[in-house]
Symmetry: C2
């Protein structure tokens, strides 16, 4: 492990923070800061600008302004892992540079995702050249493997090559493939080298932790942060059956959201349980839940005795 | 047709102009202007910032600067259809606004392409809100249907709805589905309403023209512009068999390029036949052809008596 001594790696549970918009579809920085603060209080880190953040519907300038607002508001950058991988090479360099300058613990980096079927050599060059352009020893890159959405997978061979050439800088991965055999292969081959494997949702959280992984980065961290964070923190002290029972409870809550498109459903829940209707707004190409969907969601959640303690101010 | 009188629509053959980069991977505006001028001289229009332009590897600022350079160099914006559809809503608005301000004939607009499986309602809102934000009666939007790459298709129902709500502004489509039945359906249903259908390559050029379509926007327009433009201009005056023979010759030339990844192959040909080796550079995640591939390509092309007259200065 070539990690610099004294730099604590970010671990545990992170939330890809949903991004609030005002009626004009501008990012709403005040609501964003408030939600991030609540998430930190609940024990999860801030993977701002993830897929569930509608990050790819935001410009680089909008993302840098939001990140700056979080830091200006006194939120700890050592609990932040902003998504900085864009289609355009120049955008990824600019956004990654800003994240490092602001002291973020790491960045979660999608491969360039417009061109499909590109060779590993091209993806290697993309990561390598971004790292070299940013040129800062504080940079910690977490690869973002989400083939169902990006359609550009990150192979084990690519990870091996990046780890060999950029040890320490290549710090881990979020595996949103939904394929446990892939996560397990990464845990076995790369986690022992200090390459932190995060499951792409809490579905594989316990399995990932048992396999020596770092935690998870999960959409539902926006709405159910404390129970997910608690599993990650305390599972080792519990009986196996107790840990399994807690995992099953997390799975059931997630399933309630998965009845609907995830991002609009997360925002509907925050709007409802936070008594803040403006939260439902999404940017195109997404569409907010309709009234009937919202009622079904909240009825399901109420029946599960779901709550978001401390969210409504 | 609600087109304003006096505004001539762009038609015929357009080239998604390949974007040159210098050794530092910066866009090379001088080479870009030179290539665009050559393309215009050969009779094709400029669909700058298309898929084959590596447009999605360029930032919005880089694209606006390149477009400004073309106009500053005296190239006619009425022969330009820049690609302006980005992932991020705010980026698409900014780039489209710049294109309209510079007087471009139209814009070729990808749907937002990160989020997959989004409803038509979300895509409708995306186009509608961009059109409303740009708020300029000169705007002509050409939809860009390229599901093999974007993975976000533009359905016939979506076109119908957009045409109804934004007649005149919704000006046409580039159909890069590779599915002739889809192109034919558009020609039958929408071309009579003044919705100009461009084939996504010269493969379906003659069929599109025979079906009443507007032309094609094709990668190989970068290297074989004059013969493709000539077919579009003169096919109606030729015997059917002569037109078919010319189409077959275009197909054979295209096949030579399709042995390799298209963008690196186009750049290799321009570098070779233009005696300008710097042209081979691509941005990640693409990879330039290796020496053996370049030799195979140029040998194939030489055997076909291929040339790029007037390219080498």
């Amino acid at each position: 492990m070539s990690e610099s001594p004294g730099i604590a790696r970010i671990r545990g549970v992170l939330s890809p923070v949903v991004t609030p918009f005002d009626a004009e579809l501008r990012p709403d920085a005040s609501r964003f800061v408030r939600h991030c603060r609540w998430l930190l209080d609940q024990g999860v880190g801030l993977a701002v600008f993830g897929t569930n953040s509608e990050a790819n519907s935001l410009s680089v300038a909008e993302k840098i302004a939001l990140l700056q607002r979080l830091v200006d508001a006194g939120l700890p950058p050592e609990r932040m892992m902003p998504g900085t991988g864009c289609c355009a090479f120049s955008d990824s360099v600019e956004l990654t540079r800003a994240a490092v300058r602001l002291g973020c613990a790491g960045v979660l980096m999608l491969p360039p995702f417009y061109y499909k079927g590109v060779p590993d050599e091209g993806l290697f060059r993309s990561y390598a050249k971004i790292i070299e352009r940013v040129g800062d020893s504080r940079l910690r890159v977490y690869l973002y493997h989400i083939p169902p959405v990006s359609q550009v997978p990150i192979s084990l061979a690519l990870i091996e090559r990046l780890l060999r050439d950029y040890p320490g800088t290549i710090a881990g991965i979020k595996d949103s493939s939904g394929d446990w055999s892939n996560t397990r292969a990464m845990l076995e081959r790369f986690q022992p080298q200090g390459f932190d494997v995060f499951a792409g949702s809490e579905t594989f959280l316990l399995a990932t932790l048992r396999g020596g992984g770092a935690g998870c980065i999960t959409a539902t961290g926006n709405v159910n942060p404390a129970p997910i964070a608690r599993l990650a923190r305390e599972w080792g002290a519990w009986e196996i059956s107790e840990a399994d029972r807690r995992q099953a409870a997390l799975d059931a809550l997630r399933a309630a959201f998965q009845q609907f498109p995830m991002i609009p459903a997360l925002k509907a829940a925050i709007a409802h349980y936070g008594a803040d209707p403006g939260w439902v707004t999404v940017r195109p190409p997404l569409v907010e839940l309709d009234d009937a969907q919202r009622r079904t969601l909240t009825r399901t959640l109420d029946n599960m005795r779901f709550s978001m303690p401390g969210l409504a101010s």
